[in-house]
């Protein structure tokens, strides 16, 4: 019965070919360090899922942001888990991304023919950092407010364009309601879109080129 349905779909969708290219492809024998990329991918999915759930209740205004976060944590069933996963997941994602990058560097995996994979990776790193920076303000508690206030001011101390940067980030000279909606917009729309695009290319390349083999130490 199940095979029948599967075949019916395959005839029309062609999923078996996809399945074969993604999951049944052969791969050089690799070690545990190679799981860091997929672990990062996992946290990205975790962030996306919990993040989307959070947006259901979260309100990005100075009046309600704090209350809505408190409501999520205390009133909604499993709300604490969703927010907890998102909160700790963010840190985990930063750590894993960096570790994944270190593994790529140390094992020379950015070399031919994987340079483009590497470029998308560096952009991904910036996106992840952007997520962390913008997400930090969203709960609108003291650490959020003052941390972002100082963070934006530091960025604003850039010579020449600093003031402009500060105004673009804050939406005015001060940290305000506008800043909050800006950060929210970037956090849930701009960055996720970039993340999906970049990850799409990243994963496409990983599958197409194949994962690198563990390099052997050459005798000189």
């Amino acid at each position: 019965m199940i095979t029948k349905i599967a075949n019916w779909f395959d005839e029309r969708v062609g999923w078996k070919a996809v399945w074969e290219t993604i999951f049944l492809r052969k791969i050089p024998k690799v070690n545990w360090l190679y799981t860091l990329g997929s672990a990062t991918l996992f946290t990205a999915v975790n962030q996306a899922v919990t993040g989307i759930l959070l947006t259901i209740y979260y309100v990005p205004t100075p009046d309600h942001a704090y209350d809505s976060v408190q409501y999520i944590t205390t009133q909604i069933p499993m709300g604490w888990l969703i927010r907890g996963l998102h909160h700790w997941g963010a840190s985990a994602m930063v750590i894993l991304t960096v570790l994944h990058m270190l593994r790529v560097i140390l094992l020379g995996a950015y070399k031919y023919p994987r340079e483009v994979t590497w470029f998308t990776g560096v952009f991904l790193l910036l996106v992840v950092v952007g997520f962390g920076f913008t997400g930090y303000l969203l709960p609108w508690d003291q650490k959020a407010y003052w941390g972002s206030s100082v963070g934006t001011r530091i960025a604003g101390s850039t010579p020449v364009v600093g003031d402009w940067i500060l105004r673009v980030m804050r939406g005015g000279p001060d940290l305000s309601a506008i800043t909050l909606v800006r950060f929210f917009g970037v956090h849930v729309w701009v960055l996720p879109a970039s993340l999906i695009l970049l990850l799409g290319i990243h994963m496409y390349l990983v599958i197409k080129i194949g994962i690198s083999a563990v390099p052997k130490r050459e005798e000189e």
């Binding site: 791969i27 909160h87 960096v98 560097i105 070399k111 508690d141 083999a213």
Partner: protein
Amino acid sequence: MNEKEKKTYLEQYKKDKEKGVPFYPDILFKDAVVSLLIFLVLAALAYFIGAPLEERANPSDTSYTPKPEWYFLFLFQLLKYFPGELEVVAVVVIPTLAIILLFLLPFLDRSTKRHFWNRPLISVLVIGSAAGVLFLTVQSIRETPPPAEASQGDPVAALYTENCAVCHSGTITVPEGTNLHDVIAQGTHEGMPAWSGDMTTDEIDALAGFILSPGGNALFKEYCSECHETSELVASDPIELKAALDEGDAYAPHAEVSIPEWSEEITLGERTALLNFLVAPDGQRLFATNCAQCHGRSVGFAGEENELRDLVSQGGLHLEMPPWRDTLNSDQLDALAQYVTASSDSGNTRELFEQYCASCHGKRIPTMDDYDQAREIIASGGAHETMPVWGEVLTSEQLGALVSYTMEAAEGTSLEAGQELFAQNCAVCHGDFGEGGPNPARSDDVIAPISTTEYLTTRDDHTLFQVIAQGQPNFGMSPFGSTFGGPLDDDQINTMVAYIRSWEANPPVELPPEVDSSSVSLSSGEVYAQLCAQCHGPEGLGDVGPSLRDPEFRAGNTSQDIFETISKGHEATPMIRWGDLLSQDTIQELTDFILGLEISEAGVKPEPTPGFSSFAEDVLPIFEAKCAPCHGSMGGWDSSSYDTVMTSGDNAPTIIPNDVENSILAQKITDTQTYGTMMPPGGKMTNNEIQLILDWISAGAPDN
């Protein structure tokens, strides 16, 4: 990589792949295991710790210590190592460089080698950077105390975290010579509030110490805070602090407590840090707490910074003390000598000390072992060791701050202060610009100008100082130095000398010494314009002096009369004996010049009829000009205000309203006094002035 290398790589990779495993299930299984583990960890963190939520954001609560998310801490920490102008290095240069390097990595490292052992440079760089970031993060966490903890144990650190850390993060680098106390108190830069409203002076001092010597704060906490509040020790007497640290339990106030020998317990460097913390190396504060007692608000110092540093650090023979035997009687001298040798503290003696000595010695009672010696020093005065040897007391940071502050302060104010002092003390006789005039102390004498280039180039500062301090008794100038019983202390005289010296660069009035040498051919018109016009007006129509074109004046004076007047001057007026300065020929030419001026009614009439109308407007200015130089706050009759005029003086009252005959003041200015000498001692005031004062007394000496 060239084409061949690429091909070799691809072939090798193909072989590796064939020897390899399928993604599903082998690899995917590993990935799933790791992901599941991560999920469990996250869920555990969410369950046991939860996502923290602090107080609601409060934009007006500036006491909050901001902290960025932990993965930005290394940047935050990096900022601390690039203070001020260098900030851009940490904010822009390093991060941008890092990102660019990351992007370029595949182009920078193009060898075929892939194993990290075969690429030592890259490996070391990357691991080094990672370790650096890790180190910075750890450092940042260690350095910023969590707000709660800070406010409990360490009040000064708490002040810092609450008030400064918001903008300044962990440390502030203060440029040398900054008056930190003021910066904090007044909030001198953009966006910084004036803290003086929120903090006490002690707190600001403590904070300044904390900023300039954070290590000292930690030491204070460790060693002193058990017994002392910070606020009780900050900005206190550095001599005492130093003594306490050096002497251990031999230090008298520490005698009762069991404390370690500090000089063994803490190193020299630590003691310096501690002293810097307690008495912040902040010039103005140091001056205010340590020097102002003797030096008042400012010091006049015209020398080099090095000289000043030596002077301050060596202390010693510095201030001149008046010979007290002139002022005090023998019993009082005995009592004082007793007081400083044995500190025998009978209330009377303390009063005596406070009355005469405290203005310079402050609360610091000098001590001596030998009674006779002490008595001799007090009685005869002179140079004596008033100033502590600051070099032994202050740390070099403190000394540096003090010296640079003093230099700056002396530079900023001395000329104005000098001018003021000159106007108060000298201008009566020497003229506002040192141009001289008739000598009030000796008739028939003229005070020569002291602002001429000739005069100034032939006398050095030391000579000027001596002249002012000791006076010129033979010429009727009383001593002004406090050592000689005058009203000015050494600093004030120095300030004045600096002012007088400044005339050399910009002469206040053109009175070239060449004028009296007839060889210089100034036309009479030019001489008039330079000398006479000051009083008689550029047109000769009069100003301070009478009009020279007035018909009456012309009718009453022959050419000979005018020649005589110019040569001999008028007694007790600014019309000096020009004959002393100008040659006969020049005076004759001047006379002719004056006679050549067209006669005109338009001039200012000389000697307007006296008429008293107001004390404040008519009488007091005369007192100020003629009497105040001597009759000021020095004791005796004080001419500075209505109240003192009426009530002060050894023979008070000097003025009996409505009774001119019996008013001592009236007697003295009209030279009808029954005792003592006429006033002013140099000669009578003008008839006008005398009449005004007499009119005022007969009008009942009103205060209007």
